[in-house]
């Protein structure tokens, strides 16, 4: 079964799932970061020019700021802001280690320094190819540092419990099956009515009914499950 997720098992036996993010999403995050950096650098350049004029000190200071901001911005963001630069935050991505732990100085500096290798021969062509061929969308820097870029986990908001009279299940269901029933009732309003009835007919072994009656019975089951 193809599923974009990676499953990790912690020593406590808890299953964590991470979803590695593909090149397109990451490219947008990179673009946002780059534009923000460019704007910041231009503003700083104008400020320095304004304050110091055309002097050696101004030029040197600008070069130092250029260097520190280019290399420092992603590293500082990743270490202190939960693995997210501003672009990644906007795109809902974050950098973690391969075992799901947050990145530290070592991983973050390695993966960002290796941007140089990913850039070769021009415009991150190597990094792009590497991401497309790796099954976890890692570029060279990620491979060396042992990191992953994943979608920030989001908790899906459950809707309020179903109102109405509850009805006990005729026989026990697995958690997966219970979740499917809840999903069905929650998504019913977005489904075409004919499709809803079709699904209700499919649930005949469970409800013993067909059509509208079956759907109403399913609602009653779910009211019991979500109470």
């Amino acid at each position: 079964m193809l599923d974009g997720r990676l499953a990790l098992l912690t020593p406590e036996g808890i299953r964590l799932s991470l979803t590695p993010a593909g090149p397109v999403r990451r490219a947008f995050a990179w673009t946002i970061d780059f534009v923000l950096w460019l704007i910041a650098v231009i503003v700083i350049a104008i400020a320095i020019r304004f304050a110091m004029g055309d002097s050696n000190l101004g030029e040197g200071l600008f070069l130092v700021v250029l260097f520190l901001s280019y290399w420092g911005y992603p590293i500082l963001c990743e270490v202190y802001a939960g693995g997210k630069t501003l672009g990644k935050r906007w795109m809902g991505l974050e950098v973690v280690r391969e075992d799901g732990l947050p990145v530290g100085w070592r991983e973050s500096s390695l993966r960002n320094l290796l941007l140089v290798a990913d850039f070769l021969p021009m415009m991150y062509a190597t990094g792009l190819l590497c991401m497309l061929f790796d099954h976890r969308f890692r570029r060279l820097g990620d491979l060396v540092a042992g990191t992953l870029v994943i979608y920030s986990p989001k908790t899906r908001a459950r809707k309020a419990a179903q109102s109405g009279e509850a009805h006990p299940l005729p026989f026990p269901l697995t958690p997966e099956q219970q979740r499917a029933l809840i999903d069905l009732v929650e998504r019913a309003e977005h489904l075409p009515p004919s499709r809803c009835l079709e699904l209700a007919d499919l649930a005949e072994p469970l409800t013993g009914l067909r059509g509208e009656a079956s759907l109403a019975r399913l609602r009653a089951y779910v009211a019991g499950l979500t109470r």
């Binding site: 193809l2 593909g22 999403r25 490219a27 101004g58």
Partner: protein, 529 residues
Amino acid sequence: MRLDRLQLDLRPRSHSQALDLGVALLRQSYFTCYATWLALWLPLNLLCGLLAWQYQDWAFFFLVIPWWLRPLLERVIVLVLSRAVFGQQLSWWQALRAWPKELGGGWFRVLTWWRLFMPGRGLYQPIWQLEQARGRFAADRRRVLGRDGAGPAAYWFGIACVHFEAVLQIGLISLIGLFTAPPDAMNPLWMLFDQEIAQSQPVFLMSLACYAIAVGIMAPIYTACCFTLYLNRRAELEAWDIEIILRRLAQERQGSKSLKLPTVGHTLAVLLAVMLILPQAVQAAPQCEPPEDKKVEADLIARQRTPAQSTEQQAIRAELDKVYAHDDLRGYRCVQTWTAKNKTPKEPEKEDKDEEDKGKRSEKVPDWASDLTKAILILGAIALVAWLLYRYRDRIVGAFQQAETRKLPGEVAGMDIRPESLPDDIPTAVRKLWAEGQQRNALGLLYRATLSRLVHQYALALTQGATEGDCVKLAQQAHQQGELPADTLALTQDITRIWLAAAYAQQWPSDAALDSSCSRWQQTFGGAA
């Protein structure tokens, strides 16, 4: 449509995650996809390249043709993937034969204004191709599928893919540029910036070839990702995931045993396959010569062995050898590493610095300010390095220390042999314990003290895991090498014998024997520590 055969794990996921899933789907049947796609795409490009070469006035027109026809060619990828996603693998030849039948529907739209302004076309191609929808119905379907952000997601995905194609194309051109550049060129894209060379025919065709390769790589990825977005969207709209679970529930209720048999067969098949593959995998590990000292050791063991007394013993020995030859026990590892080839030192080129513009600076900030800042920055860098060295001093010092001095064991055979754990006058303490009736403690102390002296006085290399026998053997070796006097060895052997008999067989020595041992100990090792 048999949803139970679907190879995707259906669950509600975001559009970008659904798009990413396409790469995984493509990976599953990458050979067929790329083979069919390239079988159409590369010949078309070759043909157009040749025509452009022949009729140079029309070159631009011929170069647009592959770009223009691409949406129709992409349908062959959708064809392969739509079968693969339900577990049916087409061969590339079958797919090519079936391709012309897939061209109907939507081709006018796709080849005219959509070609320019609709990078998200991949999401909608399956509507014509797989659902066979036409006209107004197709438009309705497009509207439904594109709702809830799916349409914009496909649109932006398409725009990103166009840029990726450009990245790959420029990357390829600059890779060629890097290796063909004149020595003083700085720009790997020098070919495109030189007006004369850029317009020459070979460079023109080379960039076409790079375009063909870049799109050759990206188009299946684009199509597959849009296709999984389409599938995800339909699964969401039609609740496929719920249908699969309900169907499975119905099947379970019917109590069909036929469901379970195939799984057992499947597991067996997998097990068999694993067993067949495993030996080869083990053999595939790198083989290498054992290091010199291991060879000597193996030689020694072989020479010390008496000839086998029976075939049974021979068999056991063979088995033992096999066990010891295993990677975990043989004491060395085979590792493949890179080693440097012969290096030729290169003379650093001198850089000429033009100092001309120094005079032109305005005097708003004096020159000494920049020198001061420079000094501060350099001092800061030195301070940072110093701080890092100080911060990690334990690790750095520790790394050197461990290499130089061997740590003396504090414990041998479960006994504490540090000198500070022993009383000053050993024989007196032993005699006292013996007189008090604590025979075991007395003998234990005597033996402990002996080992301690061997380690600390004669620097015998006892290890923590050494047994009493090992200690005697080491003492013998030290004697043979002239590091241990004969009487010390004899005393060690005697005390070990007495200790072993007492500790493991409860046979206590006579008072006289103990007394003589104590006096000999006094003579050999001296009373005080």
